[in-house]
Subunit: 404 residues, 2 copies
Amino acid sequence: MPTISDRMQAMPASPIRKLVPFADAAKARGTHIYHLNIGQPDIETPAEWWQAIDNAQLKVLEYSHSQGIAPLRKSISDYYKRLDYFIRPDDVIVTTGASEALNFIFAACMNPDDEVIIPEPFYANYNGFAIASNVKVVPITTHIEDDFALPDIKAFEKLITPRTKAIMICNPGNPTGVVYQLEALEKLKQIVLKYDLYLIADEVYREFVYDGEKHASVLGMDSLEENVIVVDSVSKRFSACGARIGCVISRNAEVMGAIMKMAQARLSPPTLGQLGAQAAYQLPPSYYEGVNREYNIRRDFLKQALDAIPGVLCPEVNGAFYAMVRLPVEDTEQFCQWMLESFEYKGATVMMAPAAGFYATPGLGSDEVRLAYVLNTEDLAKAMECLAEGIKAYQAVRAESTAG
Amino acid sequence: MPTISDRMQAMPASPIRKLVPFADAAKARGTHIYHLNIGQPDIETPAEWWQAIDNAQLKVLEYSHSQGIAPLRKSISDYYKRLDYFIRPDDVIVTTGASEALNFIFAACMNPDDEVIIPEPFYANYNGFAIASNVKVVPITTHIEDDFALPDIKAFEKLITPRTKAIMICNPGNPTGVVYQLEALEKLKQIVLKYDLYLIADEVYREFVYDGEKHASVLGMDSLEENVIVVDSVSKRFSACGARIGCVISRNAEVMGAIMKMAQARLSPPTLGQLGAQAAYQLPPSYYEGVNREYNIRRDFLKQALDAIPGVLCPEVNGAFYAMVRLPVEDTEQFCQWMLESFEYKGATVMMAPAAGFYATPGLGSDEVRLAYVLNTEDLAKAMECLAEGIKAYQAVRAESTAG
């Protein structure tokens, strides 16, 4: 029997999805589950999205242009113009979600065994995309006690080797909710120019920055035209995760040429998703404000509720819709599984993502979880009550088993 | 300025798409173009496809399961049952087109520098997917004079090295239209068992086999459960190329486990496409028969028209909707460009794919083109008349320039 590749043997299964069988079993028992484990918003996809698909009245569902349909790339360019970034439609390649964008970037920019430095904890799937291209992820650790602030330049420099090819950030951060402001970006600028690196920024949560703060994109930094590659997506912005529409944005013509080759090989991104996205990108600023307001309320609510649970540490969360939270338990993988397998409160339980899978350094994050506040405050209230009761019950069970 | 990866520097741009700027210029001059260059059918996507999307009345366009939605995988399993192949829904992973399926398979089954033997001419994008995973394509040449028949076992054995990991076929063949029957598959079976290889079969044109012949899938061969991996797609079957829905099928649990990890990393295939595909896979046999009949008529028409053009060699074409055709010109890249740049007949011209891009061996195919018979016979008739006139005119121009 032929054997699978070394890279796939090395690739971990998704840490978020490991718990799915336990959740399925809980549902089969009739237990309601509050899903704080995955970034699937409950917000409705804009009516304009569906209308655009209806209006097209397609008879044949044809391939689109490999770069993405021109009206969508124009809409994306216009969207950036409103944010004061000058991006030509030709600086955009539409991709099948941010996932494909990341795949393309790793394959286009890095050779096997090249290294990319990423602040950890980071979005676990970055690992998967890197492994598929035989690229090595080098983590630089950030800490819950510092609200996951970007490390200083010296810490980065310690990790730079002749194989270092890029620094990659997620801003606002999944899973941390951290927002890097200009000062942090300036640090990165110094490093990438000094060592001639790519600066890859996943900015899919750009519109989710709270308290009236503005998001600073790496697209606005001068002297970085050849270094900056941005990953973007409609998934969270327009609550259209299932459309699988994202994009790569760069002013580096060589990089875009390389990515275009891959884009042509896979023919085109999904056609219907592009029609919907094109319409959504023409929504007025009030759309973004409305969604932002809703998540700001949820963030405030979650933080307050978590701060009220004894032993829980919730850092500052300024963006995205995640929080990395320390729980008063030793091993959150066990605790999260126990919540699904052995606990319910008022007929329900809470599903969370154990944090260890978001750290590349073994041993880190074992007492943390990632919570996605993608539910309305009424459901969040119930989920937080359930979590508080769960922690109490779990501590009691643990104390008993230790005593025994 | 950081440099792009070696693999992308090595990757050729799509041979089919190189001519696009010349086609755009011709259109801008008002010349109508008969597109025989790309496999985009003119057949309508089934009404049931659109109805299924309408009926779902989605409010939130959510992620689906990474493996693909269960009802679609069930429909695919049922489809295979009608063809007498027993495939469990869990033997299916839904992908973003056959393109993603091929990407997953190369990354999951092969290490960098591993080799896959593919009969040439082959679908040019196989190269792109192989390069992205640093896999080496080893071509085994087939010939227009033999109607592109599969080479014998000895020819394969000459190419096998310690790095050979797989043999890959496209059956029915893009770009050749060749159909491998059981005898050819038995040869492959002997080789893959003897050398412990994967047998990867791209069968997306399965329903396009003509003259009442039946398609033989590698899924029906015994003793190959651990070796066989099939790539499938709804793109051509239901004229839904823009949906980007395909799948990987294998009974090798280890391979499927490895591919699942990648499937989870990219989250999910497009949701709306899965809804449409699920409905389409429930269409009765009469649907396939109707489409097959139409392409059979087109194939007959095309072959007859080509045989009537002096100096043109059109081999037997038994499947898919392509023909690799020898033209009485020296260099089809130049000829195809000339047809777009310098020729028109009754206000129109013909766009074709030069064949050299489908061969991995340099120098082969320079007098061949791939024609996709994706137009109705009325348009095909005009296209063939235009091609015949074009060849005459080109030969006259060439004779003149040689004489001069």
